[in-house]
Structure formats: C-alpha cells, structure tokens
C-alpha cells in the first residue's frame, strides 16, 4: 500500500497560456515512453526480478506516479481555461470532441495508451535493459519538449523531471551490475 502526500514532488508553475504545450506534454502522460508506461512497467516487473532489486523497481515506480501527477497538473493548468476555439488552434479539437478539457491517457498525437507499450519478459537482464532504455527515451522526450517550449517556469519543472530520468537510468544500470557481479563471485554452497 501507499501513503499519499498531498503535494507535488516538485512545484509546477506555468507562466504562459499555451494549450499547445499541453498537447506536447500528453506524450509524457499517455505516451509509449511516458510516466504512466514507466510506472506500470516497473510496478509489474518487480514481482519477477531477483529480490535484491525489487525495492529499486518499487521505489522508482512509485516516483513515476509522482511524476505523472506533475505532468497532469501541467496539462490541467494549460487547458482548464482554454476556450474550444483556443483548443482547436492548439490542435486539440479532436481531444475536445472526445473529452472536453478532461485529461486522458493519450500521446501527443492523440493515440490512446495501450499496455502493449510496456513489457515484462521475466528475464532480469532483458527487463532491466528495457527499463534503462525507457529512462533514456523519457529523458530524450523531455529534451524535445524543452526544445519546443518557451515557458521558463514550465521548463524548470521539466528539467527537474529530466534529471530524475538520468538518476533512474543510473540506478537501473547499477542493478544490472549487481546481478552481473553475483554471477562472477565464487560462492561455496
């Protein structure tokens, strides 16, 4: 079970009314390399991974949900006061038709989330390598959004999230090293 703290992991401030940014941020909300995919991937893989790295997957999955909440806050702030006309100008007319300004797990192109985005092979190395790749892809996605965004306050939050991807990737790489080392060490049973 979890204990919920009623605050964001990092403050989210949006300085410009720019619903187009909300459309880009949906890639991190319901996209293949987004925070939902990350959280569900690790939360599920942790059952069938050697026990010395279960805690790592559990902790990172939990943090990904905190990131998902930050992304949701950004999208909400960027769309909550937008008129249908503004949403249409931002390329969100189709979203408006389906959802009004409700959030939904779509990617930036409006494709709904699917469990096919994530994997669980059951092989610890295969799964951890997938997790490393997922972190690097999420890092790259944050970079591309920062490149497109000219909102300094939003970019500040996005930089924090990108840095967390770097740290997560580092920890997954260390998990691989832990599993490799165990194989090399001479153990007497």
């Amino acid at each position: 079970m979890w204990i919920y703290e009623k605050k964001l992991q990092y403050p989210v401030k949006v300085s410009t009314c720019n619903p187009t940014l909300a459309k880009y941020l949906m890639e991190q909300y319901g996209g293949a390399d987004g925070e939902l995919a990350a959280a569900l991937r690790y939360m599920n893989q942790r059952y069938t991974i050697p026990d010395k790295v279960i805690g790592l997957l559990n902790d990172i999955a939990t943090e990904e949900f905190a990131h998902l909440e930050m992304i949701a806050t950004m999208i909400y702030k960027l769309t909550k006061d937008a008129t249908p006309q503004q949403l249409r100008d931002a390329g969100l007319a189709e979203h408006y038709v389906s959802h009004d300004s409700a959030l939904f797990y779509n990617n930036a192109a409006g494709v709904p989330f699917t469990a096919a985005y994530i994997q669980a092979k059951g092989d610890p190395i295969a799964d951890l390598y997938e997790d490393i790749a997922a972190e690097e892809k999420a890092r790259a996605t944050y970079q591309w959004i920062i490149d497109l965004s000219d909102d300094p306050d939003l970019n500040d939050s996005l930089r924090f999230l990108r840095e967390r991807e770097v740290v997560h990737s580092q920890r997954f790489r260390e998990a691989v090293e832990m599993l490799k080392e165990d194989q090399n060490r001479k153990k007497v049973f």
């Binding site: 790259a140 920062i146 490149d147 999230l161 840095e163 967390r164 770097v166 790489r173 090293e177």
Partner: protein, 82 residues
C-alpha cells in the same frame, strides 16, 4: 575519471551528411545528450553532494549526476552548465 568529467561536455554533436539535392537549408550541427550516468558505472561511495535545498531543486543529491539541459539549437545554448 572524475576530474576528466569536469572539462568533458555532456552535449555531443555531428553534422549530418549533405546532398546537393536536399530540399531544405541545412540545420548545420545536430546535438545529442550523453548524460553522466553513461560514464559513472557503479556509483562509488563518498562522492560530493549538493546541499539538501539545492538537491531538491536540481533533482539529484549527487553533483556527478547533475546534467543541466537547455535547447542546444537556441543561440548561446549548447554548452554544459556547472
């Protein structure tokens, strides 16, 4: 390795090949990120840390893992920050 990482840039670049028949003007240099986690290996103990207040703002406790990112295609960007 750590002392090398101070002068070493985490932003790499290359110039895409150009054909005389390419329709668009050249973008020039393409940039990509090679963040510090690619080089660190298993993190050794006792590395320098940020203060708690700084760490909460930057997103990492560890100075060696901090990698500021900015749009490298904007003028004046493309350099790593300390």
């Amino acid at each position: 390795m750590n002392s090398q990482m101070q002068i070493f840039s985490h932003v790499k670049s290359y110039v895409p090949p150009r054909s005389p028949f390419d329709p668009c003007p050249p973008i020039g240099t393409k940039y990509y990120s090679t963040p510090p986690n690619l080089y660190l290996g298993f993190q050794p103990p006792g590395l320098p840390q940020f203060s708690p207040a700084d760490a909460l703002r930057k997103g990492t406790l560890w100075k060696v893992l901090y990698d500021y990112y900015d749009n490298p295609y904007r003028k004046g960007a493309g350099k790593t920050h300390g």
